[in-house]
C-alpha cells in the first residue's frame, strides 16, 4: 500500500488544490424573527484534489452544488466548514477558508474565474481595455501605457484584434465576449482558473472555438482548470478527471476515460444514458431516470439517490454510503459498487 502511494506521487505532478470536507449550508429562515428552521445543504462534505496542469470537471444537474463548490474555492462564498488548501507559487500551503479579505488579496492573482454568462459578466459601461485592464490596475500596474501593451497581448492571446480595445461589450458577439472574459481571467497569470459553465451560453458553432481556445491556453500557459459544467459531452471533451455530484455530494470521481467507459455509480451511468446522441441511427429508447432530484433541504435517508435507483436495496435506504476507492484512483459512493455491472459509453 505504502509503495503504491509513493509511486503515484513520483509520477503525477504536484498538488495545487486540496479541498477536504467542504461544507456550505445556506440557512432557511422563517417568521418575523427570522428564526433558522433548516439548512439547504448545498455542499455537504466534499473532498477532492486538483493537480498542477490538469482539468478537473465538476458535473451534475442543477442544484447539485457544483457552482457552490467553485465559488467556495475562490472565496466568492464563505464556506461553512472544511479546508481548502492552496499551494501558492512561493511554495507555501495556505488554507483559503481561514484567510480574511486582506490576507486573501495577494493570492487573488493566482486564482481567477471565467463566468457562465458572457452578457452579464462584462460591465456594459466599461471599454474592453478597462475590463481586461482592471485586474492589472488593482494589482499594481498603474501606468496606462504599460496596461495597454499588456491588454493588447492578452487580446491577441485569446484570438482577438487589439484594435478592439476601445470598444464596448455590446459591439461583440457571445463568443467574442467569452474570449474577453477569458482574457480578463488570464491577465494576472493565474495558476488556477475556475470556469463555471464557460460554454453553455454559446452557440454550437462558437462553443467549439472556445473549447479549443481553453485547451490551447492550458498547454501554452500551463494552466490548471476546475471546469464546472452540466453538459457531459463538453466535460468528456475537456477534462482529465471528473467528479460527478448529486445533491451536494460527490458520488463518483475518476479519470475521464474510466468514468465514461466503466461507470461505477448508477447515477453516473443513468446520466450518460440520458444524453441524446446526435445520430439518428442510434435511436433506441432514451433510458430515463424516474423521479426528480432530491431536495437539499430535506434529503432522503440513506443514499440520497436511492429513490431513483433501480438497484436500491435495504442498506441503501438506511445508511448513507461514503466515497471509497474501489479501483485505484476511481472513487465511488455506492454500497453496491462492487456488484453492479454498469454500462459505459
Amino acid at each position: 500500500m505504502e509503495e503504491v502511494k509513493a509511486n503515484s506521487v513520483v509520477q503525477s505532478p504536484p498538488l495545487l488544490l486540496e479541498v477536504s470536507k467542504l461544507k456550505k449550508y445556506f440557512p432557511v429562515y422563517k417568521g418575523l424573527m427570522r428564526k433558522v428552521i433548516n439548512y439547504v445543504r448545498a455542499v455537504d462534505d466534499v473532498s477532492f484534489n486538483v493537480r498542477h496542469g490538469e482539468t478537473l470537471g465538476l458535473v451534475g444537474e442543477s442544484g447539485c452544488g457544483k457552482t457552490t463548490v467553485s465559488r467556495c474555492i475562490l472565496r466568492a462564498l464563505p464556506a461553512t466548514d472544511g479546508e481548502i488548501l492552496f499551494h501558492a507559487d512561493n511554495g507555501s500551503t495556505i488554507d483559503l477558508i481561514k484567510l480574511n479579505r486582506r490576507q486573501l488579496q495577494p493570492l487573488r492573482p493566482q486564482m481567477q474565474m471565467i463566468f457562465q454568462d458572457p452578457y452579464g459578466s462584462l460591465n456594459p459601461r466599461m471599454t474592453i481595455f478597462d475590463i481586461v485592464g482592471e485586474p492589472l490596475y488593482v494589482h499594481g500596474m498603474r501606468k496606462r501605457a504599460e496596461r495597454e501593451d499588456k491588454v493588447a497581448d492578452l487580446l491577441k492571446l485569446v484570438g482577438m484584434r487589439p484594435e478592439y480595445m476601445q470598444r464596448y461589450p455590446h459591439a461583440f458577439s457571445g463568443g467574442q465576449r467569452q474570449r474577453i472574459g477569458i482574457a480578463r481571467a488570464l491577465a494576472l497569470h493565474p495558476r488556477l482558473v475556475v470556469a463555471d459553465e464557460p460554454v453553455s451560453a454559446l452557440d454550437v458553432s462558437v462553443q467549439a472555438q472556445v473549447l479549443n481556445l481553453l485547451l490551447e491556453l492550458q498547454e501554452k500557459l500551463k494552466l490548471t482548470y476546475v471546469f464546472v459544467a452540466h453538459d457531459l459531452s463538453v466535460v468528456k471533451h475537456i477534462c482529465d478527471r471528473v467528479c460527478v455530484m448529486y445533491v451536494g455530494k460527490i458520488v463518483e470521481m475518476a479519470s475521464t476515460a474510466d468514468l465514461f467507459n466503466y461507470p461505477l455509480h448508477p447515477y453516473t451511468a443513468a446520466l450518460m444514458k440520458s444524453v441524446p446522441i446526435p445520430d439518428p441511427l442510434c435511436r433506441n429508447e432514451i433510458q430515463e431516470l424516474p423521479g426528480e432530484v432530491a431536495s437539499p433541504v430535506n434529503p432522503p435517508k440513506g443514499c440520497y439517490f436511492h429513490p431513483r435507483c433501480k438497484f436500491a436495496v435495504d442498506v441503501c435506504r438506511n445508511s448513507p454510503p461514503f466515497l471509497r476507492e474501489i479501483v485505484p484512483n476511481h472513487f465511488v459512493s455506492c454500497h453496491l459498487a462492487e456488484e453492479l455491472q454498469l454500462e459505459g459509453i
Binding site: 444537474e61 442543477s62 458577439s173 457571445g174 463568443g175 467574442q176 452557440d203 454550437v204 458553432s205 462558437v206 462553443q207 467549439a208 472555438q209 473549447l211 479549443n212 485547451l215 452540466h230 453538459d231 457531459l232 459531452s233 463538453v234 468528456k236 471533451h237 475537456i238 477534462c239 482529465d240 475521464t256 476515460a257 465514461f260 443513468a270 446520466l271 450518460m272 444514458k273 440520458s274 444524453v275 441524446p276 446522441i277 446526435p278 445520430d279 439518428p280 441511427l281 442510434c282 435511436r283 429508447e285 432514451i286 433510458q287 430515463e288 431516470l289 424516474p290 426528480e292 432530484v293 459509453i345
Partner: protein
C-alpha cells in the same frame, strides 16, 4: 365544397383543389416562401427570409439552427403571434384544418393563415385547438396567480362546449396522460409549486388537452436538466406515436433533433440551408454549414481532448447580413464572385433531400425560388 368556398372566399383563401386531392397524403401544414421582417428604427431585420417546408400528418419536423437563425420567428409567424414591430411580408402558410374542431372526422378546409387577421375568431379557434404550442420557458408560460388546473380548464372551455366539471375531468386525464402522479391534487397547484420537470409536463398536458393535430415545441427541453430532458423527450415521443400528432420541434441541440425528428430543416440567418429526411441530413449532409455544424459538436462518444473542427468567425449581426448566401463569410468552400453575389437556388439531392448551395447549383444564378 364550392358553395361553401364562395360564401367565405372574401375572408378565407383556399388553395387549388389539387392540394385537396389525395387528401390523406397532403401535408397538414405547408409553409411557402415565408418572409417575416422586423421594422425597427435602426433598420430592417429580415428574420425569416424565404422559408418553405411541409409538415406531413403524424411526422416530426425538426427545425435546427443557432441563435438568430429565425427558427422561433418562423413559429411565431405561423401562429401569427409576431411582435408588433414584425410583419409577414410575403409567403403563405396553408393549414389543413377541421371546420368543426370537435368533430375529429369532420370536413376539412385549407386555410392560408397569413390571410387571417391575427386577432380574428377563426385564428383564435385554430390556436390551441388545431395548433398548440409548447413554449420554451415553462415558468413564464403559466400565470403565477391562477392554479395550473384553472388555466388548462380555461383552454378546454374556450375550444370545447363542455361544463366546468367535464373540463376538469379532461384536464385531470391530460395530467395523467403526461405522467403526472396524483393528478387530482396537482391540478390545483400553482405553477411555482411544481418542479421544472412537472411544469413542463403540465404545459404539455395543456397543449394536448384539445387534441391538436399540430404541436409546435419551441426548445421544450432547453431550460431543464438532462435526466428530466430524457423523460420529456420519451413522453413526447410516446404521445406522438399514440396520437399521431404532427410536431414541429424547434431546437439548437443536434442530439435532440437526431433522436426526435423524421425530417430536419437546417436554418441559418433566416434562410433554409438544407432540409431533408433525418438520416440524410446526419449521414449525408450536403451543405457546408450542416457539415461543419455536425463536426463541431463534442459528442459523448467522441475522443477526449482533441481539437474540434470549428466554424470560423461568428454569426453575423442581423442588421448587416452578408450579401448573397448568408453563410459565405464563414464557409470553407466559399467561391468568390458566386456565393457573395446571389442567393443559391434549392437543388434536389434526392426526392426528400434539398440543399441551397452553389456547390450543387453552379452557374444557375437565379433569385430564390422554392424547391
Amino acid at each position: 365544397m364550392d358553395v361553401k368556398a364562395k360564401n367565405v372566399l372574401e375572408q378565407r383563401v383556399y388553395a387549388n383543389a389539387d392540394i385537396f386531392e389525395g387528401r390523406m397524403n397532403a401535408p397538414l401544414l405547408k409553409v411557402e416562401d415565408l418572409r417575416a421582417y422586423f421594422f425597427m428604427d435602426e433598420g430592417i431585420v429580415r428574420a425569416v427570409d424565404g422559408v418553405s417546408f411541409d409538415v406531413q400528418p403524424g411526422k416530426v419536423v425538426g427545425i435546427v439552427g443557432e441563435s438568430g437563425c429565425g427558427k422561433s420567428v418562423t413559429m411565431k409567424a405561423i401562429l401569427r403571434i409576431l411582435e408588433p414591430s414584425a410583419r409577414i411580408v410575403s409567403g403563405k402558410v396553408f393549414l389543413r384544418t377541421r371546420i368543426n374542431s370537435q368533430n375529429q372526422q369532420g370536413d376539412e378546409e385549407l386555410l392560408d393563415l397569413t390571410k387571417l387577421k391575427p386577432n380574428s375568431k377563426r385564428l383564435r379557434q385554430i390556436r390551441g385547438a388545431e395548433i398548440a404550442l409548447i413554449p420554451q420557458e415553462p415558468m413564464a408560460a403559466f400565470s403565477p396567480v391562477h392554479t395550473v388546473g384553472n388555466q388548462i380548464i380555461e383552454t378546454i372551455r374556450l375550444h370545447q362546449d363542455v361544463s366546468k366539471d367535464k373540463a376538469r375531468q379532461i384536464a385531470v386525464e391530460a395530467f395523467r396522460a403526461v405522467g403526472i402522479s396524483m393528478p387530482e391534487q396537482r391540478i390545483d397547484a400553482y405553477s411555482w409549486e411544481l418542479s421544472g420537470g412537472l411544469r413542463q409536463r403540465a404545459i404539455i398536458a395543456m397543449a394536448l388537452s384539445c387534441n391538436p393535430r399540430l404541436l409546435i415545441a419551441d426548445e421544450p427541453t432547453t431550460a431543464i436538466d438532462v435526466t428530466t430532458q430524457a423523460q420529456i423527450l420519451n413522453l413526447l415521443r410516446n404521445l406522438q406515436k399514440e396520437r399521431q400528432t404532427s410536431i414541429i420541434f424547434i431546437t439548437h441541440d443536434l442530439g435532440v433533433i437526431a433522436q426526435m425528428a423524421d425530417e430536419v430543416v437546417v436554418m441559418y440567418l433566416g434562410m433554409v440551408m438544407e432540409k431533408g429526411e433525418v438520416n440524410a441530413i446526419f449521414k449525408n449532409p450536403q451543405h457546408p454549414y450542416t457539415q461543419a455544424l455536425l463536426k463541431s459538436i463534442p459528442s459523448i462518444q467522441s475522443a477526449s481532448r482533441i481539437k474540434l473542427p470549428t466554424i470560423k468567425g461568428s454569426i453575423a449581426h442581423p442588421f448587416n447580413r452578408p450579401k448573397g448566401c448568408p453563410f459565405h463569410p464563414r464557409c470553407n468552400r466559399f467561391m468568390r464572385g458566386i456565393c457573395d453575389i446571389d442567393i443559391p437556388n434549392f437543388v434536389n439531392i434526392s426526392e426528400t433531400h434539398v440543399v441551397g448551395c452553389f456547390l450543387h447549383s453552379k452557374k444557375t444564378l437565379l433569385p430564390t425560388a422554392d424547391k
